[in-house]
């Protein structure tokens, strides 16, 4: 760090670097494993590398190739060029799916991030109780499918206990998962309920890294909690928040299981999110080529959003120190 920022003449820098690395080499020689390092590294990396190649790199490449074919899994793939992509651009259901997915992500991430941040700050500023931290995490311990089914039963228009309570207080029953306008926000909030604790805990870990003396100094200066949040917490939490956002946005775009168990894409495609449409095209209609093309489109969208988020939030830099 210091070498780079003070930018000394190159000769000096070279010597400097040499001087710093030499003792380390010696230290390794003392252990007597000088030649084994590469092999040891390879052994340690191999499982992850194998996993990466088999489960990520190869399927991605094959998926991209399949997106240029007509393929039903049981007969050989047939090259069709850009046909699948042309169909995708002209497919109103695809655009509809993309639309409801974006609506889902906006509601899900918007509410979840604000709520998680609030919980994290409260956990940091008000309590040291690890019991509370545990309770916050509880919904996350439940599987997505179970959470979806439990909420489906609670919110059922005719039979759900949620709607029983609503109608008992004199309000009309709400078809939470069965109405076009309600369905996506409901699914988004079910997943907020499940994930908010986990997200809060990630942010809480980020908050722990902020030196306490900053808050003490601010307090001495007479700053309010509100002011400290905006002037200390937010700027210093930004890199962690950015990474959490990138991760949750990617996860949010891939929503599938909650939709599959609560609405199955209905009513009238109102919750036919992109992953569900891709799944249906592939495993329901055996159109693996078209499903692959849509998956590639999702990959492009997610990559673009990630790069944009990374840039906008300067996730790689910290304001600390």
């Amino acid at each position: 760090m210091t070498v780079a920022s003070s930018s000394p003449p190159s000769r000096l820098r070279a010597r400097d670097v040499g001087a710093r690395t030499k003792p380390k080499v010696r230290a390794r020689e003392r252990d007597g494993g000088g030649h084994g390092d590469g092999l040891l590294a390879a052994v340690f990396i191999a499982p992850a590398m194998l996993g990466f190649l088999v489960f990520l790199a190869w399927p991605t490449l094959r998926g991209i190739w399949l997106s240029f074919t007509r393929f039903n899994l049981l007969t050989p793939a047939e090259w069709v060029g850009l046909d699948n992509y042309i169909r995708m651009v002209n497919d109103p259901i695809f655009w509809g799916s993309l639309g409801v997915t974006v609506e889902y992500v906006v509601i899900n991430i918007g509410v979840q991030t604000v709520a998680a941040l609030a919980i994290a700050v409260l956990l940091q500023r008000l309590t040291q109780s690890s019991l509370l931290r545990g309770i916050v995490l509880t919904p996350y311990l439940m599987s997505n499918v179970v959470a979806g089914l439990v909420w489906l039963w609670i919110l059922d228009t005719q039979l759900g206990i949620g709607n029983e309570i609503i109608s008992a207080i004199g309000v009309d029953r709400i078809p939470f998962l069965a109405d076009e306008t309600w369905a996506i926000p409901t699914i988004a909030l079910i997943n907020v309920w499940r994930h908010v604790g986990y997200t809060a805990l990630l942010l809480f870990a980020g908050l722990q890294a902020i030196p306490n003396d900053m808050y003490e100094a601010a307090k001495v200066d007479g700053a309010s909690e509100w002011r400290m949040f905006w002037r200390i917490t937010m700027p210093l939490l930004r890199p962690v928040l950015a990474v959490v956002l990138i991760m949750t946005v990617i996860g949010s775009f891939q929503v599938f299981d909650t939709v599959a168990v609560t609405t199955a894409g209905g009513p009238a495609n109102a919750t036919n999110v992109l992953q569900y449409y891709i799944y249906g095209s592939a495993f329901g209609r055996f159109q693996f080529g078209y499903a692959s093309a849509m998956s590639v489109a999702l990959l492009v969208v997610l990559s673009a959003i990630t790069v944009l988020q990374y840039r906008l939030t300067r996730a790689g830099q910290t304001d600390l120190g």
């Binding site: 899994l73 228009t157 005719q158 036919n272």
Partner: protein, 447 residues
Amino acid sequence: MRLRTLTALAGALALSLATGCAKGDSTGASANTVTYWLWDANQLPAYQACAKGFEKENPGLKVQITQLGWSDYWTKLTAGFIAGTQPDVFTDHIQKFGQFADLKVLEPLDDLDIKDSDYQPGLAANWIGQDGHRYGTPKDWDTVALFYNEKMAKDAGLTAEQLNDLSWNPKDGGTFEKAIAHLTVDRNGKRGDEPGFDKNNVKVYGLASNGGGFGDGQTQWSPFTGSAGWSYTDKARWGTKYQYGSKTFKSVIKWYFGLAKKGYLAPLSDYNIQSNQANTQVAAGKAAAAFDGAWMISSYNGFKGMDIKTALTPVGPTGKRATMMNGLADSITKGARNKEGARKWVAYLASDKCQTVVGKAGVVFPATPAGTEAAIAAYEKKGIDVSAFTEPVADKKHFRTFSYPITNYAADVTALMMPAMEDIYGNGKPVSSLDQTNDQINLILSQ
């Protein structure tokens, strides 16, 4: 030293995993075993009994039955076709038949010499592919009737005779709509046909919702489209054009989903394929009646503290009553490990011997007339009158029975029709929108 031990351990682990994979056989089948899949848990004991009889007749052969829930069943079967772990024999559904024929995963069964006359009419012919080969042997059949809550009907002053003698038309709904309206009760106790009825606050719907009905409307609108004389496609089997754009179809759909607007039919928002199907609505006392299939007889009769009876589907504009008559079959997979044994097992499943055993269990109507008789007797023993389901098959003069649509691209038709029907039912979209959907479907079929 430590490194070497580590490497050796890792190597040994990798090796054991690799050989484990190579030797693994998820089906656990041997040369003397026939693997068989079905989805209905209620039918499992009956088929286990069948298998026992089969094993006695064929010493050395064993039948290994696996039961999976409906949706897991098809997912696992598909995965099985891809991975080569499919069963030798499986219970097949017409809805999937077209797709499996497209994918060429079924074994022709022509040499089993299945005769149409050995089974209830129409059942055997449905399982012949476009190539003229047979791919399934008739197993059972079902029709649709009106299940109703006897007490609610009594309270409404409707007798069993009246409910069995309803008629309808797409203009004013006829006596059927009147009955459904009268069975509907709002929050203030007003019936659907009384002045001051509040359609926005209904306590009990006359008719339960079974959703939009996809492209078949089996337990939704098909008793009406059928008795209006409409057919799904231009030909009875393997048609090349669907007729969802026809004037008759659109007028029936407009009237049928219009019942929801009037407050007599439960709205789409009350329906959920997971949590709240028509039978649940009836069981919960939220609906007085529901169209449902013969496979649900045991479910409806199992509702505690509730007497559920059945009535015939209403007479339509053609002067006939109508119901879909759907039949399942047994099919052998092309990749079956034990094809010889599979053929013997399928032939046995299609025989009177097995179907009478299944019939005696009283859970389903087997495809052979003797099997059907056994089932009717078994239901009678349980005190259940099933004539609303059997009459349509026996009385061709007053009833029209029709089959599930059999065409190519069945999954695409469903994928397009599901949102189209839900849009009309749930969102009040005009039925004219069906023209476009029908064009899209026929375009796919013309490929």
